[in-house]
Amino acid sequence: MKKLLIFLFSAATVISACKKYNEEFTGAPLGIAPDDFAVVNNSFAVSKNNPNFINDTIYFMATFNASVTWKIRLKGELSGAIKIISGYSNSINANNSKWNGTTDIAKLFRGGENVNASLTVYGWTDSLTTTINIVLPKKHGTILGRFENIVPDGAGNFTDQGLYWFSSFDANEKEFMNKVLDADAPEGNYCIQLKGHDANGNYYIGKAGLSSSSPFTFAFGSSDANKVYFNLYVKGEGAGSVAKLVIETFEDDNDDHVVYYDNSEDKYSSTIDLGFDGWKLISIKYSDFVLESSSSPYKDKNPDKIHLIGFYCGPKSASATSLQVQFDFPTVTVDAPMIP
């Protein structure tokens, strides 16, 4: 018994000595508004009310009579996009409230829309508001498709952003490449839906593709596969998802202005599992794509030699034959993934 008590006492002493709590508190400061809290002159303003986010970065201005936790909630009237800027301080200024048109959710702010900015303070029952009108939204690399104002060719294909989108599919398997209205579409009101039925069980239904014609290869701005990112919003189907979306690239490695499908030039792919819920931004570095053309003599990822990009869908397993995939706003960015 005596030995046991000594052991216990020693163990408790060792454990207690292990960590001290010297901080005044843990976590972000609560910053609750005191009873006499006030915003000086009741003023909440923005540095520029009509920003062009291709060039502009704006900030907000307010001064308080105490250090508090504050939050500015920006919501687009048309898009429903939301951006939250928050902090703990006794003033809001250029150092702590910059905004360059980014969003926190899978909804992008639109050009021409009004954005309501609402300032709240933790523990303060009032709020202050101001309005911003976005002249042009933030620019995101090379946009491959917006799917808002497409120009159809009457054969199920269309032109968007100056690029020709075509569909390719297994016979009798498609209801394919539809432009669909989706209230939750991340950019604008429309997105692309690939839908079909894998009747022949080859794990493939069809493909939406686009190619560059002049110049023959896409000019993304870098030849370094480690710097080029393919970004797109994809609508997940939850944990029980049966579909996959595959991004394919076809390179013109021998510069002959012909892309061969017989594996004599490089073909790469990246597979997206749709086992998540709702719209989600997916960004994949080109260097993470997988070589599909094993017999190609080149085997070198060259983003500046990509002529054709495909988005194909198919079932993950043979039993899942009917499926659909929706995606929106495919873009290519250089140096970093798209910051929405």
Binding site: M1, L4, L8, A11, A12, I15, S16, C18, K19, Y21, E23, E24, F25, T26, G27, A28, P29, L30, G31, I32, P34, T69, S86, Y122, G123, T271, I272, D273, G275, F276, K280, I282, S283, A318, S319, P337
Partner: protein, 572 residues
């Protein structure tokens, strides 16, 4: 689908052939048929003048789990459970699902080591690996409530406080003749998440326990558990998680003629390492806990009392013990909308024990969101970080005795203030009792009443407006009208008022912000009905449930819902 059917057919055929040869082959099963007819009271503010939201629902399903067990020898046993799930209204299997629910292989290696492969249930101590109960659950609640909970527990593989994972478990026991009686060792390894190469990494859970049983008076144990994400199995924006916990525990018993005096304790440390490659951001946490208790058990009377002290450090992170069984930030599926379809109904105490979709089946690596009105004192179980204080526990009798009572009272405080230097203080009082009246009056037919109360009080800085009280009261009456036919009635009542700050965390478990939470809410669930026990494992129940929700801060959210529920449950 064709392949799946072929595999199942082949498997069943093989089992049949095998059974003819040696008869090592037997079936187990679980079946149930449920029908629930629910409706809002149309005068409820929540749906009054609402022409878009559904006000009534009729739902149900038929589930049959066929357990196929093969035991070719004493050292090998395998089982698979196939589930057929047919939603109410399906006809000739329209809308049916056939799936594998469970696959297990058990065996013994070299007559010494027992092993289990496939789906395994794991539990260690309350600070290492432990699936804590949902907060509104009470041992003393009405039988009709328990039937609903048992359905949820069964479907979620919530066997007591165990977590269901897929992997391997090994166990062995060595007996000695001198000094110590036996030594047992168990170890396990599992994958608790499968990578999708986007936002979910491959996540491994592993650990083990060494227990030394000295004999009558002393037990010692060492416990280890670890979680690791495999590098490169998710995008570089995803935080890679590693968590290791080592604890030691002991129990010492000193006996006199009538009493056993017991001292027991567990203490340990946690190390967490979280890394996000994209921003090259790494956060490491280290902290500790101690739980020590002294108590007395009467050798001949069913009475025990324990007093304990515990200290759980602010950064003591133990994913296996702190993961919540229920997701508090999900809206319920029963009659989900109101106010013209513009509002998702918030969950209530009825949803918490009837809605399968609210439940979490996986171990989570961050401290997840919770609603303070249901459980503010210990939202992450006994291992809730940033708590210290005293507990008094006492128990008299058992569920078969004339009188059975339990009391658990805790006075706790934070170890360190959150967002403000002033710490929160907590009181948790949990008590319940059952009186088996038929034993007092000498009646052979069951007549029992039970009651329970769970009271929580949180007090914090006045400036931070932290002042929250909540209580959940249960009352249950069970009366056997005819042989095996019970009349069951019960009430569950929640009252919550006050304000609190909900702590919001990022993927590194850092406290980044707070959400003000104000509540003035009473909820009542009343049930009455009949339960007929066809056998020990088979029952039919018909119950009515009335829900009443009153939001004292926003009367638009007041509603009443009534439900008729029929269940047939079968096990063999």
């Amino acid at each position: 689908m064709k392949t799946q059917k072929l595999i199942i057919t082949l498997f069943l055929s093989l089992c049949f052939i095998f059974s003819k040869a040696q008869s090592p082959f037997y079936f187990t099963g679980y079946g149930r048929a449920l029908i629930a007819k629910s409706a809002y009271n149309e005068n409820s503010n929540y749906v009054k003048n609402d022409t878009t939201s559904a006000k009534k629902s009729l739902a149900g399903n038929f589930v049959f789990d066929l357990g196929i067990n093969v035991k070719p020898s004493e050292i090998l046993k395998a089982n698979v459970i196939l589930r057929v799930n047919n939603q109410f209204g399906g006809f000739f299997s329209t809308g049916s699902l056939l799936e594998f629910r469970q696959i297990q292989i058990h065996g013994i290696l070299a007559k010494k080591i027992a092993y289990s492969l496939g789906d395994i249930d794991l539990q260690m101590t309350k600070y290492t690996l432990f699936n804590s109960y949902e907060a509104t659950r009470s041992e003393f609640e009405a039988e009709a409530f328990k039937i609903r909970r048992n359905i949820i527990d069964y479907d979620n593989f919530n066997n007591g406080n165990q977590w269901r994972v897929q992997g391997i478990q090994l166990k062995t026991k060595i007996e000695f003749e001198k000094i110590i009686k036996d030594l047992s060792l168990s170890a396990f390894g599992s994958r608790i998440k499968a990578s999708n190469f986007i936002n979910t990494p491959d996540r491994l859970l592993y650990g083990g326990t060494l227990k030394i049983h000295q004999g009558k008076s002393l037990d010692l144990g060492i416990n280890f558990i670890g979680i690791n994400d495999l590098p490169g199995t998710a995008q570089d924006t995803v935080v890679s998680y590693a968590n290791k916990i080592i604890t030691g525990d002991f129990a010492y018993t000193y006996s006199t003629r009538n009493l056993n005096f017991i001292a027991k304790s567990e203490l340990g440390t946690s190390n967490s390492d979280m890394f996000q490659a994209k921003e090259n951001k790494r956060i490491k946490n280290y902290d500790h806990f101690i739980d020590a208790s002294l108590g007395v058990k009467h050798k001949y009377l069913p009475f025990k009392i324990f007093v304990s002290y515990r200290f759980i450090g602010n950064e003591y992170y133990s994913a296996g013990a702190q993961s919540r069984r229920i997701n508090d930030n999900i809206h319920p599926t029963l009659l989900p909308n109101g106010l013209g379809g513009s509002n998702n109904r918030n969950m209530n105490i009825f949803d918490r024990f009837t809605d399968l979709n609210l439940y979490n089946k996986t171990i989570t690596t961050t401290l997840s969101y919770y609603l303070p009105m249901y459980n503010n004192v210990l939202p992450y179980g006994a291992a809730t970080p940033n708590r210290k204080g005293y507990t008094l526990e006492t128990e008299y009798g058992n569920s078969d005795s004339v009188f059975y009572a339990q009391v658990n009272a805790q006075m706790l405080s934070e170890v360190i203030g959150v967002g403000i230097s002033q710490k929160r203080n907590f009181i948790l009082f949990n008590a319940g009792a059952t009186l088996n009246l038929h034993k007092i009056i000498g009646c052979k037919k069951l007549l029992a009443v039970s009651s329970a109360i769970k009271y929580e009080n949180t007090q914090g800085a006045t400036a931070a407006k932290i002042n929250l009280q909540s209580s959940i009261v249960d009352f249950a009456l069970t009366f056997e009208i005819l042989k095996n036919l019970n009349f069951s009635s019960g009430i569950k009542f929640l009252n919550a008022k006050g304000s609190e700050n909900i702590i919001l965390r990022d993927a590194f478990n850092n406290i980044t912000s707070y959400e003000q939470f104000k509540v003035g809410n009473t909820q009542s669930i009343i049930t009455t009905g009949l339960i007929y026990h066809l056998s020990k494992q088979t029952s039919f129940a018909a119950n009515a449930f009335w829900q009443l929700n009153n939001n004292h801060q926003n009367s638009n959210e007041n509603y009443a819902v009534h439900q008729l529920f029929f269940s047939y449950l079968l096990k063999f």
